[in-house]
């Protein structure tokens, strides 16, 4: 398992190389949402890192509307000396395929939670696609299942900020009169207990991160077992640059003691996210009353009732007749079965049948308020 870090200054190069880091990412302001480098600085760092035998990838994770895309992509076409390009936007992927000769590292951290989605890119990018950076929403079991089928290098975020929200709109600068390139703040939602969301606004818009950083590095052996090829470390939001030394020590000796030291000195608490399991869809059933959901046997729904007299219904499925045996289920889930003995149309006249879409009346059934479902037995 190899380590990938963000190279932010030349003075870190020796440290990274000595620690055993094999890959460095260069994040340029115009192309990367959290980029700090100019394009020229990146070219310079690329030369130095390559000379030390490091693999360098250029980070293009920003989303761009057409005018900006056109303007900035020209810059890359003129000169792109990097070994690989890390791309998120589908348009950027296609552009890189058509205009550059570098390896492609796909940033699949938004969606791509099924193998088929990744296959769609494999088919189109062929051998140019070398690596996929997978979503932090994927549990380890899924990655383990995919690994032998993918035939690609797999990268995950091992330690770093977890981006929750990205808007192109300027949401922080509007709250202050300060003029600067980047606004940094912390947000506390009134939805307790969520506090301490790191916030940033720069030329790419406004970004909000999870109050805790994602860390899988406590599961180092599990990562290896499931087939992770590259573990990414993102130290860039740490206040003290001294963290680089501790991170390098951990990378060179990924054991409990170096990890604990790193954790003690890391600015934010750590969390594992969905590494063990992802059950983010299990609450959906509770978002609406399942007793109201339509069933294939359902033939009508109660609109209103008059006690001891009638129920007004709307026929929504199979037709009803005066002899129908029906089951009613109210919104609380209570059901009962009865046999009809009369049926009236919307003019309150006896009829032999009500068709789909028609309004009609049946005898009163207690405990059957509006929205009660009626099914044929």
């Amino acid at each position: 398992m190899k380590s990938v870090v963000y190279l932010t200054q030349a003075s870190d190069l020796d440290l990274w190389q000595r620690s055993g880091v094999t890959d460095v990412i260069l994040a340029v302001k115009d192309f990367s949402r959290s980029g700090t480098l100019s394009f020229e600085e990146a070219i310079n760092l690329n030369e130095k890192a390559t000379a030390l035998g490091l693999n360098v990838s250029f980070d293009w994770d920003a989303l761009m509307e057409e005018p900006r895309f056109l303007m900035l992509s020209k810059k890359l076409k003129d000169h792109f000396p990097f070994k690989a390009c890390r791309v998120r936007d589908a348009g950027a992927v296609v552009w890189v395929r058509e205009n550059l000769n570098c390896d492609i590292h796909l940033l699949l951290e938004s969606g791509h939670h099924n193998l088929k989605a990744i296959e769609s890119w494999q088919k189109r990018l062929g051998a140019r696609l070398k690596r996929v950076a997978l979503s932090p929403e994927l549990p380890q079991a899924t990655i383990k299942l995919w690994k032998p089928q993918l035939g690609l290098e797999i990268e995950i975020l091992g330690l770093g900020p977890l981006l929750l929200f990205h808007s192109p709109r300027p949401l922080l600068s509007t709250l202050t009169s300060d003029k600067k390139e980047e606004w940094i703040a912390e947000g506390a939602s009134e939805e307790s207990p969520h506090k301490g969301f790191p916030l940033r606004e720069n030329s790419h818009g406004t970004l909000m991160y999870h109050p805790k950083d994602l860390s899988i590095i406590e599961r180092w052996n599990e990562m290896r077992e499931v087939g992770i090829d590259y573990v990414r470390f993102d130290h860039r939001q740490q206040k003290s640059h001294a963290i680089v030394g501790l991170l390098a020590t951990f990378i060179s000796h990924p054991v409990e003691s170096t990890r604990n030291t790193l954790k003690e000195n890391w600015d934010r608490e750590w969390m594992r996210g969905y590494w063990d399991v992802n059950k983010s869809d299990v609450l959906f059933d509770k978002l609406k009353n399942q007793n109201l959901s339509h069933s294939s046997r359902q033939c009508a729904v109660v609109l209103e009732g008059k006690k001891d007299s009638w129920l007004a219904i709307k026929v929504t499925g199979l037709k009803l007749n005066p002899q129908s045996q029906i089951e009613v289920m109210n919104p609380q889930g209570k059901s009962k079965t009865i046999k009809l003995h009369w049926l009236k149309n919307d003019a309150f006249q006896n009829v032999e049948e009500l068709q789909m879409g028609e309004i009609g009346f049946i005898p009163w059934i207690s405990g059957s308020p509006s929205k009660t479902k009626i099914s044929l037995v």
């Binding site: 989303l63 761009m64 509307e65 057409e66 895309f69 936007d89 589908a90 348009g91 992927v93 296609v94 552009w95 938004s110 969606g111 791509h112 939670h113 099924n114 088929k116 769609s120 890119w121 929403e137 899924t142 929750l164 929200f165 990205h166 808007s167 192109p168 709109r169 949401l171 922080l172 600068s173 709250l175 202050t176 703040a185 912390e186 947000g187 506390a188 939602s189 939805e191 969520h194 969301f197 909000m208 996210g273 983010s280 869809d281 609450l283 959906f284 978002l287 609406k288 109201l292 069933s295 294939s296 609109l303 009638w310 007004a312 499925g317 919307d346 309150f348 309004i359 009346f361 308020p369």
Partner: protein, 399 residues
Amino acid sequence: MNHFTPELLAPAGNLDKLKTAILYGADAVYCAGQDYGLRAAADNFTQEELAVGVQFAHERGSKVYVVLNGFLHDEDLAGLPKFIQFLDSIKVDAVIVSDPGVALLVKEHSTIPLHVSTQASVLNLHGVKAWSELGATRVVLGREVTVHDAGTLQRTSGIEMEMFVHGAMCMAYSGHCVISNFTQGRDSNRGGCAHSCRFSYDIKFEDGQRESSFFMSSKDLEGLSVLPRFVQEGIVSLKVEGRMKSELYAATTTRVYRQALDFWKNHGSWENAPWMKWQEEMRKLPHRDETTASLIAPAGSDSIYDEREHVDQSWAMAGVILAASSERGVMIECRHTFDQTSQLEVLTFKGDVIELPVREMCAPDFTSIEKTKPSSLIRFPWIEGLAAGQVIRLKKVRS
């Protein structure tokens, strides 16, 4: 002479709303089955309802697009091929996807045209190309794209462009917000969005400055005033947001945008267009403050709705007409309380609204009543112009 007019695409959260939108003039509606969409809390459609809805739409010359726009996990895909084949069998007019894996499955298992959801945040020409490689014939562009740029993308790519024209908006790039996923355990990209962006946040800046703000809450999109630009750029389809909203919303938005688009279609000019009248109609719906967002230029700080959610409602939905004929009179399903002092208006499918005097109101069994209750049925005498499916609104009296 008819002039190019964009398709009016309306939301259909359930079968009743589908019928409402179509009766009020939608060229097409979009809706979801019980799974695979982004509105887990919406009623959505059973397969039987989808079949009925498609038939209802096609009989009236309208189209039905079914959303399959969740970011799906492997286990979600198990039943998808069968559902796709079902959609093909009932002849839906397109499916709307945002996940490349879902796009591949649609192509493998059907001949249904493929539209790309705004959830995929397609923002540029190469993004359009990426999806056309997967067989997409239409792209619902990211809401960050201007109408002008959308026109250029459409002309350059040869792919149809669809844009949101009205309704609530995500502040984030669509598909790039996972707040609910990591704070509520609800996958926003599979239908579980908890709307955390609508809450107030205390913001503390590096220098210690503190502000309390609904800074992530967006104003609602208002594209009525931008219609001439959409038309000028030849944008193929204009989409109204709001599958979770009421039939009053479906009726009002569809009716007003239909009238505006028909005005253009019939005149080929916006001269003397009754903009004020259309805007006044739209103001009768509950809404947040409005913005044109990025339709004209990239949205700025004035697009933030820095307020707690509240309903500023001068009119409410009074009910919907279930049946109407000169012989049997009118039957109304009430959604609100009203009595003889109330001011009611019926939104006709075409033409002006009809004032509905509240008199001779009676219960379904013809017993006289003075006041309605929500979820009750009432009978009214027949009035020329009333028809089943029409929505009735009630002027709210401020206490």
